[in-house]
């Protein structure tokens, strides 16, 4: 089962070779990327079947942890590895001029995302996080509309990386190890103190840049408004979720303390409120989607701040729902950029796109039979179970945010279906590929409604496995010398 490492390595290999292959044969170069992502899908699938849901760890280079680096493979990691390969494949830049460099960067993004899902070592996570950042800088800058947002994104991202690195360094000075399982073992004695909390806050803010966490998300609207929509879809759909996954792992394993949860709850709630209010005021489709994405990610963080399995379950549900809905919305918005008022009657020119948009909007708001409703219900129920005024305050905040969300999304839907439009300028056609891809996301949303019970069952088992820190420690066998050293410390 150690072939799972291939989902990180093969895309990197392909990325290194794409420029050369593309020079020899353009068509082969164009086919290499999708082919490799297909192989990654297949590998993840076979490993998932082989492991039968049991978590296992592989030691890269054959060195026992915590000396070497461990990849920890459980249901959650496999799920996200699978979704990474799938989303990259679905959002692959098939159309337009063929640029090998763009393909190479997309492959690197895929490799690093797979690494983030699998890695069980704090510094290794940082390396993959940095790799995701650098690859996304390049992809964002391909928009050509303006490079200023990309540069601001680069600066904020770099700042975040520094914060995260300082946080990791603090953890290392306190414990002397970087392996997550080992850290989890040492955390109760070494990290439940102000320094541990500060380290968590730094890592949270640093990784939060990609996860669109409240104070460090100012890059989101302008980057999503100027980057190519497929890139926005990848960043909002995939990369933000992987950053949230990293934070979830750290929260469960290393920083399982009450104050850390409160910090997350507060920042998440602020994200929900500011994101939804800003989306309500936004005048541009892409910006509105970006702000709404901030709100949704805030909800994920609020959910993760509920201790135990309930929070993980609700957070994963919201994250996965957003992962399906937001990329599709960005694809649909590709031709609907510019002022929202210019969209009056756009449904007349393109009925399927407008209908799909309505479906996703309904699910995002949480209209009952659609998956978005069940995800929000889980969150609301989880918050209601908790004692403490802050949780109930968050509950109220989320309900109010939902009303705001409903208001602006339905406003757009009614604009799209506006009947007597004042002679709309030549209807902007969507490319067939975008519509088909969005249709694919829509179909999976409908399928999720039909398969709701088995899906929620399997998500519950994933949440159970993820929230169980003791099981994680049991899977990773540490080298004997260091574990005894740890006890005597």
């Amino acid at each position: 089962m150690n072939q799972i490492v291939l989902i990180v390595v093969l895309p990197l290999l392909a990325a290194f070779l794409v420029p050369i292959v593309a020079r020899m044969s353009a068509s082969l170069g164009a086919a290499l990327g999708p082919l490799v992502m297909g192989v990654c899908l297949w590998i993840t699938g076979t490993v998932a079947i082989e492991s039968a849901g049991n978590a296992f760890a592989i030691n890269i280079g054959g060195f026992m942890p915590p000396l070497g680096i461990t990849f920890f493979v459980d249901r959650l990691a496999l799920l996200f590895a699978f979704l990474t390969a799938l989303l990259v494949l679905v959002l692959w830049p098939f159309q337009g001029e063929h640029r090998p460099r763009e393909h190479a960067l997309t492959l690197i993004l895929a490799a690093a995302s797979g690494g983030l899902a699998l890695s069980g070592d704090l510094f290794n996570i940082y390396v993959f996080y940095e790799l995701v950042s650098v690859a996304s800088f390049g992809l964002v800058a391909t928009g050509r509309r303006s490079s200023a947002p990309a540069i601001r994104y680069l600066i904020l991202s770099g700042f975040g990386s520094v914060l995260a690195l300082v946080g990791i360094a603090l953890v290392y000075t306190q414990t002397g190890t970087l392996n997550l399982a080992h850290l989890s073992q040492l955390a109760p004695t070494h990290l439940i103190n102000p320094i541990g909390l500060a380290a968590f806050a730094l890592i949270l803010l640093g990784v939060g840049v990609k996860a669109e966490l409240f104070p460090v998300n100012t890059w989101v609207p302008e980057v999503y408004a100027t980057a190519p929509n497929r890139v926005s879809a990848l960043l909002a759909g995939l990369v933000s979720k992987l950053a949230a996954l990293v934070i979830l792992r750290l929260l469960v394993l290393v920083f399982a303390q009450e104050q850390a949860l409160l910090v997350m709850l507060l920042l998440g709630l602020l994200g929900v409120i500011t994101g939804e209010l800003a989306a309500w005021r936004a005048q541009d489709m892409n910006r509105m989607l970006a702000y709404s994405s901030i709100g949704q990610l805030g909800m994920v963080f609020v959910a993760f701040s509920i201790p135990g399995e309930t929070g993980v379950f609700a957070g994963l549900a919201i994250a996965l729902h957003h992962l399906v809905v937001k990329p599709a919305l960005f694809l649909l918005a590709a031709r609907w950029g510019g002022a929202l008022s210019g969209l009056a009657g756009a449904a007349g020119g393109n009925l399927p796109a407008a209908l799909l948009f309505t479906l996703f909007a309904l699910s995002l708001v949480g209209v009952p039979p659609l998956p978005g409703f069940w995800a929000k219900l889980l969150l609301v129920m989880g918050l209601a179970e908790q004692v403490g005024p802050l949780y109930h305050f968050a509950l109220a905040g989320i309900l109010i945010a939902t009303v705001v969300e409903a208001n602006y999304l339905f406003r757009i839907v009614s604009t799209l279906f506006h009947r007597d439009s004042p002679a709309s300028p030549a209807p902007q056609k969507h490319s067939g590929g975008d519509i088909a891809t969005a249709g694919l996301f829509g179909a999976s949303l409908i399928a999720a409604v039909l398969l709701l019970i088995p899906l929620s069952q399997s998500l519950k088992t994933i949440a159970q496995q993820t929230a169980d820190a003791a099981a994680y420690r049991a899977v990773v066998t540490l080298a004997p010398t260091t574990s005894t050293l740890g006890d005597t410390q």
């Binding site: 890269i60 000396l67 390049g138």
Partner: protein, 229 residues
């Protein structure tokens, strides 16, 4: 408003730093993994330079990640600067002294760079450091003669194949029954030039890749400068 928010953020960060200052037990950091690696590395990896044992052995996949970061950065630069036309004339060649100096320096830098790369598992140095020197070896002649730029094709080939070689060595270990990037071949005697198994080969791949990458990056930037002016 924006200033106020930045001020608040900076204040919070300052408070955090103050907390560290008060709480920190300086000079007594636990060295769990560090000590374990120091005692185990010579026997497990066989590299006299323990830093190399960490960089290529224990944390080899991190190094692969670093290589990919460098590759992503230079690819992004190429993507952004790539479609500019170099219609303007490059700067004229510099005088005799600079040209002759550049030509003299190149072989020296090549030797030093390769030496540092190939002795990376024995003495301080290695692929990254040596690679930078190799890049300088190729870039100094370009500075002396701006009219004869680097050949992108050659750089691209070295870059791609050396990166692929690093991964293929790792995959060879995976397919011979071990784990990805597990050191292969005989460890030899500690301190010999031919020792530490596949580590010197990995460092050679790293060095060539870093060298080609940086030289390509510098050439791109130089070309962009020309077209800007």
């Amino acid at each position: 408003m924006r200033n106020l928010a930045s001020l608040l953020f900076a204040g919070g960060l300052g408070f955090l730093l103050m907390v560290f200052g008060l709480q920190f037990d300086f000079g007594n950091a636990p060295m769990l993994v560090g000590q374990a690696i120091q005692s185990a590395a010579p026997e497990q990896v066989g590299a006299a330079n323990i830093v190399t044992a960490v960089v290529l052995g224990y944390r080899g996949i991190d190094t692969l990640g670093e290589l990919a970061i460098l590759f992503a950065a230079s690819t992004a630069v190429g993507l952004i600067l790539g479609h500019r036309h170099t219609s303007t004339k490059p700067d004229p060649d510099s005088g005799l002294i600079l040209r002759a100096g550049g030509e003299l320096l190149m072989p020296l830098l090549l030797v030093v760079g390769l030496y540092i790369i190939l002795h990376g598992h024995l003495t301080p140095g290695g692929g990254f450091q040596g690679g930078v020197i190799l890049a300088a070896a190729f870039f100094i002649p370009v500075l002396a003669r701006p009219s004869t730029p680097l050949k992108h094709t050659g750089m691209m080939l070295i870059e791609g194949f050396s990166g692929a070689a690093f991964i293929l060595i790792g995959l060879a270990a995976l397919y011979s029954g071990g784990e990805f990037l597990q050191p292969l071949l005989d460890k030899g005697t500690l301190g010999n030039l031919v020792s530490a198994g596949t580590l010197p080969l990995l460092y050679l791949a790293v060095g060539l890749k870093v060298g080609a990458e940086l030289a390509g990056l510098l050439a791109h930037l130089a070309a962009a400068e020309v077209s800007e002016s």
